[in-house]
Every structure is written in C-alpha cells, then in structure tokens.
Symmetry: C2
Subunit: 289 residues, 2 copies
Amino acid sequence: MRTDPTAIIDLVSATMTPRRPTIGVFDSGFGGLTVLKALLELIPDADYLYFGDTARLPYGSKSVETVARYAVEAAHYLENHGAELLVIACNTATALALDRIIGAAHVPVVGVVEPGAGAAASVSKNRKVVVIGTEATVSSHAYRKALEARGVEAREKACPLLVPLVEEGWVEHGVTEEVARIYLGEAFADGFGDADVLVLGCTHYPLLKPLLRRVAPEHVSIVDSAESTARAVAERLQKLLTHERKDEERRRLPRIKFFATDSVEKFRRLGERFLGRAIEDVRHVDLKE
Amino acid sequence: MRTDPTAIIDLVSATMTPRRPTIGVFDSGFGGLTVLKALLELIPDADYLYFGDTARLPYGSKSVETVARYAVEAAHYLENHGAELLVIACNTATALALDRIIGAAHVPVVGVVEPGAGAAASVSKNRKVVVIGTEATVSSHAYRKALEARGVEAREKACPLLVPLVEEGWVEHGVTEEVARIYLGEAFADGFGDADVLVLGCTHYPLLKPLLRRVAPEHVSIVDSAESTARAVAERLQKLLTHERKDEERRRLPRIKFFATDSVEKFRRLGERFLGRAIEDVRHVDLKE
C-alpha cells in the first residue's frame, strides 16, 4: 500500500512544462505551521495547502484509534483538494497513525518522526538522545524505535504543559523556564546525563527553542523535527524543482490555502505567531460529524 | 422550546410506585466529575449517566459553533439512553450553548453558570465578584451577564493554564501556585481589589481549591460552581425524593454508567482523580464522525 515517494517526481518530470507541485501539510492545529514555515523557506517554488484540525485539537492526549481516524479524514481532505504529497506536520499523528495514513492515502506521505530521528542520529556522538513530546507521542515509542534502529539509545519524556504554555504566549516566561527545568531535569537524569542531543518531538516546541537552549545542558545539541522534516521534503523535491523550470514559474510566490475545522478568525490570529507571517486565505471545514 | 423543569417531578409524582430518576451529566471530559461527585453526595437516591466527550476535549479554546454542535450531540445521546434531566456540568458548554441545548433537548436542562452566579451574588457584600474560567467561557461573558442581572459587578479572567496543570496532576505544585498568583494578581487589580468573591467558573478548578484559597486575597470567599449546581439540581429533586419513596428503593446505591468518546482506560484512570472513587462501567462511544 505504500506509495513510492519518487512517483510524484516522475510524474512531474514526465510533463513537458514542469508544474509547481502542491504540497498538503496537516496538523491537529497550529504547530504544523512551524513545519510550513521551514518548507516555505526551503521550497518556495511550490504551492501549499494547510489543514489544521482545530475543532478537535489537541491530539497529544488522545488514543491511537481517535488520532488515526481524525488524521485519515484530514489526509483525504487534502488529497481531494489537490495535494500531491502529504506532510504529516504533527508528531502525535505521525507517531500514532503514519502507517494508517500511508495505507489510506494515494500520494506519498512524509511524517516528522523519521527525519527527526535521522537528524538526531547523525548529530549524536554519544549515541544517546533525549526526545521531548506529547503524552501520546511518548507512549507510542515511535522515536525510540526509530532511534534504536539507528543504533542510538533514547529516553522519551512527555511534557504536556509546554503546548498550553506556548499557546498562552509565555514563550519567554519565568514559569515556562521553571517547567522546562523540571521536565529536562527529569529527562537528563538517571543514566542520561551524557545524552548529547535533545529532539523537539512536537511542532509547538520550536517556539521555545531559545528558552530550551538556556535550560538544556550546555553540551546538548537541539534537533528540531520541523526543520529536519522540511529538509527531508526538500531533498525529495529539490532536484526536480531546480531543473526544467521556467524562470517566471519559479519566481512566483507560493500560493497557500489554509483550512481549519474551528474558528477561522482564531486560526488567523494564533497561526501568525507560529508561521511568522500574515495568514489570509483561511476556510472553515466541517468534517460532517 | 424550554421544557418546564418541574415536568419530571410531576411525571414521577404521578406514578404510584415512585421511581429513582436518571440524571444525565455531560462534560467535555473529566471536570464534570466534580459536579457528579457533589450530586452523588446530595442526591444518592438517583441513578446517573455521565458522558465525557474526551475525544474532542478541551472545549475551552473552541468556538461557539463547534461547542454547540458537540454539546447537542452529547445531550441527545444521554436522552436516548434514558436521562430524564440533563446537567451540563461544563462551564464552557453552558456559557456558549445552553440555549441551543435547551432548544434541542426534550427533558429539563440545568447548566452551571446560573447556580454559580446565584451563589456568588448571595455571598458578595461588596457586589463585586471575580470569575475565573476558560478562554471560551470568559469570551462569552455568560457569568458577567448573569451577575449583572443580579446587581453584581463582575470581572472575568481567562486562566488557560489551570486545566493542563490539573491534568498534569500538579494540584499542589509551586508552578501552579505561581501561575495562580499571576492570574489572580491580574484579576484582582485595577478597581477589583475589593471584590469579595472568587467564582470557580470551570469544573477542573475545584481540585485547586486549597491552593487558590492560599493565593486569593484573604477577604475573598470562594464559590465553587460545581457545588452550587449540585445544590440547584438537589433543590429541584430533593422534595420529591424524600417523599413517597419505599425505604428499600431509597437505600439502594446509585447506578452510574460512564460514556467516553476517547480511550476508556484513560477515562477510568484520570477520572478517578476527579470523582474521588473508583470508576468501573465505562463504555466507548463513537459519535459517527
């Protein structure tokens, strides 16, 4: 059932007039906008559809069955609206439901866990890594499995307060620093003092990067799975996009459409904090509950 | 469309063998269990159905349309399973959707806002009250309207971090105390230093009552809308239940059935913290999304 990820490249290469691919980005809410931000920087010559399942967020505290059902619905929605490649820009959905999404989708699917684990493994000298994420991501042990497959030992630590702290806007707040100190203190204790990489296993966490940099042990490198994922997508598409493309086509700015299952106004307002730019074209989606 | 709240009492009074009424309690998740707990203490001679929409929680950050749709679905579910009176044990659902629920239901409906506002008004000597709640509850101004109708001035303050802190289990934690100090400091500032009541406008907050008691100004009384609501329901039913009831029927322990839209195991585990007793009969509900 796994669609060959090179299929889209072949498809586009085969046409005489290379087209801009449409990339569908999916998240439970706003966090995936940090992945979209990285994608826009690395792959400006593509168009984007972003789906935020804001009526049902957060996924991080929910069960496998529920998250898988929600994620597959969103994947189908994006496909039906023209996405030729799907980026599951949500660690929880990737960790709990990537196989189910791949099985249900008709286009290639990229998750955030493999790129994040790959980047961590390439950076870790001590072969020991700490991953922070939501309760659901940690319970799935998706990162541990991906890292152990690369010969790296992993400790996964659930940090359920960090998402609400980011959404409260307290990204440089004393309370957030204290919470991070407690969580990281526990994560780097008991045999993981020599772990040398901290993986941000939730797409909300890049907003806390400066704070986490201060709180994490000095010898630790921070790996942002949002950035790693954008690079993984870029690697798949980049070769194609720098070839056979008319200049005027390459220079056009990306078209970005946003879909949200809860309030459009709130998506616009909160989303700009994650994307770092104005959000305009947001449509409300009702998934027929 | 408003069903007469005395209808159920008439119905039960009319039968020759008085029955135990079945009370349906609805919340987005676990918080409503604090209301159920108060109901069980005040009205032990009834049976209960509890519906927690855990797959779609939290409601506190969502829009009116979304919350109303979810709440009406849950109300119908409880009615269809035999509830003769509905308690909307969720401040957000009450604040945003009580009229819609009353319009859609065929049995009497009791929300948490009116009882909470009534209790606050009866306690406040200075006619000035602070209400804390979720973002959605505060934006609706349901408490302010209900208090102003009673001649009481109200400041509403959104405290979005308190729910995740309770769910993390940090009910007596230094971080929670600091967060509460920040929120209450802002709430009781600028002309509200002489407010003499603090309304807990979210069913998660009763778990923080000892901590909030320490942090709130000394002269302030704390009104728990969970308790007030239980009293409002009790007042409607109590008269009936102490009359015409066979002793053996009165003495039987309440039957309680729980329904959850997300993981049953998680509901059992987390729910016990809110209810203060073991949770056994939980069924998974799929609302056909």
